[in-house]
């Protein structure tokens, strides 16, 4: 089920299994490795806790079992208080992934809502929503998270999910807005509008299906963010420390000085698991990127003649997005964004002020100065 994840972003029906296999084979290697790794993690999260040999919280009073190195009875050794590290990991993977996926779903939904409505409503709404997401992008997330959670009376799983979802949406919203802008001007959207379809129908059935790749990418990114942030938050102790997630295991390992006492089996496995999870997601994401941008695709496909590598110089078709139409107020607001420098809005508006300048004068202006 997870194996099909990168595939499902761009197709509707899978009927013949040979075709499915062909699709899978055509995926970039990165995406395949990432999907398989992630699949293993999801499997651990789903069935892992059932196979946990011990109760992860059970503190074995026997002194011989305090910080015991890995053995047949305890595959990854024990903690200071005789808890089984392996069982903690099996339970911890579930909690961490569960949190990350929920945050991914909620935050991605938020970014789709904000991004699509910004692009679709246009005008002043667009500018206000863009301003909002830019502001939240520029405010550093972790201090905000720490302070938000610090003020909450209970720092449980739900609070963490809420706070992470509220801070994880702006990046995706920006990307989705840009994509929606490009799609909005296409013929098929105009056609469906001509046939009298309602706005919500156009959004749900014409625009969003064309953005599945981007939405999948931003989901993967958000999950990555959520894993990193939740583990970091738990590690510094801003989490429910009585539940077992990879972050809390690391927190206890750190606070009980596992490192200084040489108990590598306690702190190394959770860290490696987090790193592997992150790598799986990053690989999956570069895979999705490569699907969308052929130039980034497998470098092995570059041909090599007489020791010289041939550069991929064939031009990629570029669709010029129609310049968004803005009201004067919206134009004014847009001038405050960094992108106004890139798309020339800034230049346009200053030309309007100067009144007499020709378009395209921007290049020579620098030399005259």
């Amino acid at each position: 089920m997870t194996v099909a994840m990168p595939v499902s972003v761009e197709q509707t029906a899978l009927s013949a299994s040979p075709q499915q296999f062909g699709r899978w084979r055509r995926l970039p290697t990165n995406a395949k490795v990432g999907a398989i790794l992630l699949g293993i993690f999801v499997l651990i999260a789903v069935i892992g806790p059932l196979f946990a040999p011990y109760n992860p919280s059970y503190q074995n009073p026997s002194p011989a079992l305090s910080m015991q190195a890995p053995s047949a009875a305890h595959w990854l050794g024990t903690t200071e208080s005789g808890q089984d590290v392996f069982s903690q990991l099996l339970v911890g993977v579930r909690l961490t992934l569960e949190l990350a996926f929920i945050v991914g779903v909620v935050a991605t939904a938020l970014s789709v809502i904000v991004g699509v409505s910004a692009a679709f409503l246009g005008g002043i709404w667009d500018e206000l929503l863009s301003l909002l997401s830019n502001v939240f992008l520029v405010i550093p997330a972790l201090p905000l998270l720490i302070v938000l959670l610090g003020f909450l009376p209970q720092r449980g799983q739900l609070a963490t999910i809420l706070v992470l979802s509220l801070t994880g949406w702006p990046w995706g919203a920006r990307l989705i807005r840009a994509q929606t802008m490009a799609i909005r001007g296409r013929d098929f959207v105009a056609a469906s509008r001509e046939t009298g379809e309602k706005s919500w129908r156009i959004i749900a059935f014409e625009i969003i299906p064309n953005e599945t790749g981007l939405i999948a990418a931003s989901f993967v990114n958000t999950v990555l963010f959520a894993i990193g942030a939740s583990v970091a938050l738990a590690f510094i102790g801003v989490a429910d420390l009585n539940s077992w997630s990879l972050g809390t295991i690391l927190y206890w390992a750190q606070s009980q000085q596992a490192l200084q006492l040489g108990a590598w089996w306690w702190f190394a496995p959770p860290g490696v698991l987090v790193a592997l999870m992150g790598t799986a997601l990053v690989l999956l994401n570069t895979g999705i990127d490569e699907l969308g941008n052929p130039r980034l695709r497998d470098s092995s496909s570059a041909s090599r003649i007489a020791g010289h590598r041939l550069l991929p110089t064939d031009p990629t078709p570029v669709l010029m997005a129609e310049a968004p139409r803005r009201s004067r107020l919206a134009d004014f607001l847009h001038g405050f964004s960094r992108s106004s420098l890139a798309d020339g809005t800034y230049q346009r508006s200053s030309e309007q002020q100067a009144g007499s300048r020709r378009a395209g004068d921007g290049w020579t202006g620098g030399e005259q100065r």
Partner: protein, 327 residues
């Protein structure tokens, strides 16, 4: 200059949002900060309730609007109140002590990581499919690893096992802080390992970003034209392709700063480095609300200022932007 002024207004809005969040946090949260403190110090008399309220600045008389105005006024005068845990010290002085540490360490490490990552990205894109390009997945593993975990491993390896670097702290206990030679040597020595961990974990991100933009740039016609003219590869790479790919990279630098700061906070906690991250951790673990609020504001404003600097540099290095500025 007008672009910069517009950006300045944007950052002012962002700063105002942060300020407002900070103002409403203690008022909107379900918990009561005063009761939390009362619960922590059981020997406090109930009569101390009003005093704590005054100290936290939440029991203010007057409308919420009046409180807001006086709060903003306090912030502009860097008056963040009195600290709860280190009682007589003011919050501003506590933060003032830690900022130089964080700025020096994180600033240097970030600039190094950015420079090295961009350089490696250029190389990886130019030698497409070469060893550096193929090493990228490995570097991504480094990047995906939680900051603090890599730091812990390096700490274990270099400080606990090999005794090459100290076990943390900003400087050795035997030197006197100040502008003297032994102190500077000691502080530098203590900062090498933390700086390395920041560089190692963030270099891959810069590299990947630069590589991807570079690959798109290399496909452009003017690069082909440069090669066709018979220019040396070095010239084509650095003056034609990398120069243009660098602008998106620089824009990304501004946006990534927020993430870099987050990573650096964790780093300080691992190394018990006397910076603002450690102070934040202590504030959270001791429910020191005024300190938490002030630190959040200071970090946010630092990031906003850094972003503004990036914008200025962007205008300086991009001829198109300069032309528009001049127009």
């Amino acid at each position: 200059m007008s672009f910069i002024i517009r950006r300045l207004v944007f950052y002012a809005v962002a700063g105002w949002v942060a300020l407002t969040i900070d103002f409403f946090l203690p008022r909107a949260m379900p918990g009561n900060a005063v009761e939390a403190i009362m619960a922590k110090f059981p020997n406090l008399q109930p009569s101390a309730y009003k005093a704590i309220q005054a100290m936290l600045g939440i029991g203010h008389p007057g409308s919420i609007w009046g409180q807001y105005v006086s709060y903003v006024n306090d912030v502009f005068h860097l008056n963040f109140g009195i600290d709860v845990t280190e009682y007589p010290a003011s919050v501003a002085s506590l933060i003032g002590q830690t900022i130089p540490w964080t700025l020096a360490l994180v600033g240097t490490a970030t600039v190094i990581a950015f420079a090295v990552g961009t350089g490696l990205g250029i190389l990886a894109a130019w030698r497409r499919g070469g060893w550096l390009d193929r090493a990228l997945p490995g570097l991504m593993f480094l990047q995906a690893m939680p900051y603090f975990f890599l730091a812990l491993i390096l700490l274990e390896l270099f400080a606990v096992t090999l005794h090459v670097f100290p076990l943390g702290q900003g400087y050795s206990q035997t030197v006197v802080p100040g502008l003297n030679w032994p102190f500077i040597v000691s502080a530098t020595y203590h900062s090498i390992l933390p700086a390395c961990t920041i560089v190692i974990t963030s270099v891959a991100g810069w590299m990947l970003q630069m590589r991807n933009v570079m690959i798109t740039t290399i496909g452009e016609d003017y690069v082909l034209a440069g090669q066709a003219k018979g220019l040396s590869s070095r010239r084509v790479v650095f003056s034609y392709a990398a120069r243009n790919a660098f602008l998106p990279q620089l824009q990304g630098f501004g946006l990534a700063l927020a993430f870099v700061v987050s990573g650096a906070l964790i780093m300080e906690i691992v190394f018990s480095y006397p910076g603002i991250g450690l102070l934040l951790l202590n504030a959270v673990s001791s429910d020191d609300y005024p300190l938490m609020q002030a630190i959040f504001l200071v970090i946010t404003f630092a990031v906003l200022i850094a972003n503004l600097l990036v914008d200025v540099v962007l205008v300086l290095v991009d001829p198109r932007a300069r032309a528009r500025e001049g127009a």
